[in-house]
């Protein structure tokens, strides 16, 4: 049982969201951003991709330095009709493993990017 005072940092018991993705989130690391939204036609989570379209996979997202976030928004301006409510999220770049690529810093965005933690069959 917990003792008074600072609590130990939570270890996430849910495999899809744990492991290297979590340990990658370091406040001191340089912050990158990707642009995300929900696709208009089916509501699916999408990311503005390297090839200028919208893609369901975050590992194909165009990654920019935080300072260039607004420019990324501008680059996507011609395609925002395909999506709903685009916004920028902070990511860390994970180099190793099967989940190499951008990983959102906030767990809300990790769940959006990788699918509901309770349905591994819907994971992306």
């Amino acid at each position: 049982m917990p003792t008074p005072g600072p609590r130990p940092r939570a270890r996430r018991p849910f495999s899809r969201l744990s492991g290297c993705k979590m340990s990658a989130a370091k406040a001191s690391a340089p912050v990158d951003q990707v642009l995300t939204a929900n696709r208009l036609s089916d509501g699916k989570v999408v990311f503005f991709s390297a090839d200028g379209g919208w893609d369901e996979r975050i590992d194909r997202a165009r990654v920019v330095a935080k300072a260039d976030g607004e420019a990324l928004m501008a680059a996507a301006a011609g395609t925002v009709g395909e999506v709903v409510e685009p916004y920028l999220i902070d990511v860390d770049i994970v180099a190793e493993g099967g989940s190499a690529g951008p990983v959102p810093r906030r767990y809300r965005e990790r769940i959006r990017a990788f699918g509901p933690s309770i349905h591994p069959q819907f994971a992306k």
């Binding site: 049982m1 917990p2 270890r11 996430r12 018991p13 929900n38 089916d42 989570v45 769940i111 933690s117």
Partner: protein, 551 residues
């Protein structure tokens, strides 16, 4: 049950075609999201974390087998093979595509269902005692009045843009199974000393960030004046409800701020203008609606079915299910059967398309074609002959629908939480799943007697954590999921709002913490005491001690 008349059919069909056109214009880009959003919300279509979410109304939680089959078909054909039954007796689909939604609404209309007023600042689906019409402890079937309120409130022009959403629940029974004290309006059918049946009217209950227990503003309202009195309450709220602050816009805040007495006076004054006027139910209308809710053709059976006792003696697992999941029926020889949607490791309230189809078949075979949805996220076969129980139970087991845990520690209410919901701060379902895995021994579950755990993923309290005997609220603490525990909540006639027991727990501590609370109860309970009784007798001290004392 109620059947649509020509007006209902035409109206719902018209709405489907209107939405078809609106969706087509949105997909073509001629409507912006800002323009389209109010239209989709008026048809129950939200945009959630991963996809659109369609919330379909199940008026007062009553479904025919034909409707259940349609819900299964929609889950299979347009979604990902499951649906989620909610605390408002509705069903939600988590993955529909916008382009398919007009077709889904057309499919629903074919079985007299829709998604109108399942969102927005209007009067939402009217909920009721899930055992309405069959409960042994009932004065009258509350669905008759729920249906009258549904018809009155559907597209009511004056009440389509209220300060905030508005939820009404009705019960006709002595025991409150509809959480009426936690609704904007709660109605309870009561019998006066002279034998006349009317309503006790409760106003201003709710959960969310400011939980309130409803106040009784009228202990007895004659049935004939139901609509004029509701109209008076809604008018006072519509005029005075806070439109300047989203968090203070519900009627509970108004009642709290002006005081129950002053609020009651305002309602009574407004009612004096409306009473006996055109809003009152026309002659013959009550009888017309009542005819739809006449009891089905029950067989005349013996009250006691010895075969059930014999089967129960022979099969302890069946006996446990009979003990936990059955409720007394008003008709001799029949039983109300709860189907638990809280099997070990499953998301509370979820049912697959195959389960829904099977339940529809079982309803036809064993329950006169009828199914109910409970606000505790389970399903009910309301009309089962006692002699059929053993056979039904055997059919339910392979479907994962025979978990003998109704009202027990694993019969958990949980909101969708951060796995689906864009408002959530933390996940709810994985905590519920972990608790059902921790408490997976039936003897232990039953030894813990009645124990209700309710989990919300944010302060909006869709998972009813305020009224959980043990409530769990997910919070975001510096980017991590933490869970606050409340104790002593109660959604029934002895309504109470739970109190926070102490600092929150991390996601990998919270199940241990729940088990500590449960074990503490076992250690300190008096013989025959439920968790709530023990908590009320001893207060939070022993639980705080075991949770937080330094070891």
């Amino acid at each position: 049950m109620y059947r649509y008349d020509e007006f209902d059919h035409a109206f719902v069909a018209q709405r489907v075609e209107q939405f078809r056109e609106q969706a087509a214009r949105r997909l073509a880009g001629t409507l912006s999201e800002d323009e389209f959003k109010p239209h989709r919300l008026m048809n129950g279509l939200y945009l959630q974390l991963h996809a659109y979410m369609l919330r379909v109304a199940i008026p007062y939680g009553t479904l025919s087998s034909r409707q259940m089959r349609k819900l299964a078909h929609i889950a299979r054909a347009y979604d990902r093979g499951y649906g989620h039954f909610t605390t408002r007796q509705n069903i939600q689909y988590n993955w529909p595509a916008l382009k398919d939604v007009p077709d889904i609404l057309a499919e629903l209309a074919a079985v007299e269902m829709h998604a109108i007023q399942t969102s927005g600042n209007c009067i939402r689906n009217i909920t009721a005692d899930p055992f309405a019409g069959v409960a042994a402890d009932e004065i009258e079937d509350p669905r008759i009045y729920a249906e009258i309120i549904r018809q009155w409130s559907s597209l009511h022009p004056e009440f389509s843009f209220l300060p905030r959403k508005f939820k009404i629940a009705v019960t006709g029974a002595a025991e409150d199974r509809a959480a009426i004290a936690f609704h904007d309006i709660g109605l309870q059918l009561v019998r006066a000393e002279d034998g006349e049946v009317g309503f006790a009217v409760l106003v201003g209950g709710g959960q969310g960030r400011t939980p309130m227990i409803a106040k009784t503003i009228r202990p007895f309202l004659p049935k004939a004046h139901l609509l004029s009195y509701l109209e008076a309450i809604l008018r006072v709220y519509n005029l005075l409800g806070r439109r300047d602050n989203l968090f203070k816009a519900r009627i509970k805040i108004l009642v709290h701020e002006v005081g129950t007495e002053a609020f009651t006076d305002m309602v009574e004054e407004e009612w004096a203008q409306l009473k006996g006027g055109p809003v009152e139910l026309p002659d013959g209308e009550l009888e017309r609606i009542l005819a739809y809710f006449r009891p089905p053709a029950y067989e005349r059976l013996e009250a006691v079915t010895p075969a059930v006792d014999v089967q129960a003696r022979a099969d302890p697992a069946f006996a446990a299910w009979v003990r936990a999941n059955l409720v007394a029926h008003k008709q001799p020889g029949y039983a109300i059967v709860n189907l638990s949607l809280k099997a070990e490791g499953e998301p509370p309230g979820d049912a697959t398309d195959a389960q829904m189809d099977a339940i529809a078949d079982l309803a036809d075979r064993y329950s006169l074609g009828e199914i109910r949805v409970t606000h505790e996220q389970n399903l009910v076969l309301p009309n089962v002959k006692a002699g059929d129980l053993y056979e039904l139970w055997q059919a339910l087991r392979p479907l994962g629908l025979a978990t003998a845990n109704i009202g027990h520690v694993t019969d958990i209410i949980a909101c969708p939480g951060l796995d689906y919901c864009s408002l959530a701060n933390a996940r709810s379902i994985p905590i519920a799943q972990a608790i059902t895995r921790r408490f997976n021994d039936l003897a232990r579950i039953h030894d813990l007697a009645e124990l209700k755990i309710k989990i919300s993923g944010c302060i909006n309290a869709c998972g009813h954590h305020h009224v959980g005997h043990i409530g769990i609220l997910g919070v975001d603490k510096k980017g991590e999921e933490f869970y606050q525990i409340t104790l002593g909540g109660d959604a029934t006639r002895t309504a109470a709002i739970g109190s926070i027991v102490g600092p929150a727990f991390s996601s990998d501590q919270v199940v241990d913490a729940v088990e500590t609370v449960v074990n503490t109860y076992v250690d300190v309970r008096a013989p025959g005491e439920r968790f709530l009784d023990t908590y009320r007798r001893l207060g939070p001290a022993p639980f705080k001690e075991s949770l937080y004392a330094a070891h």
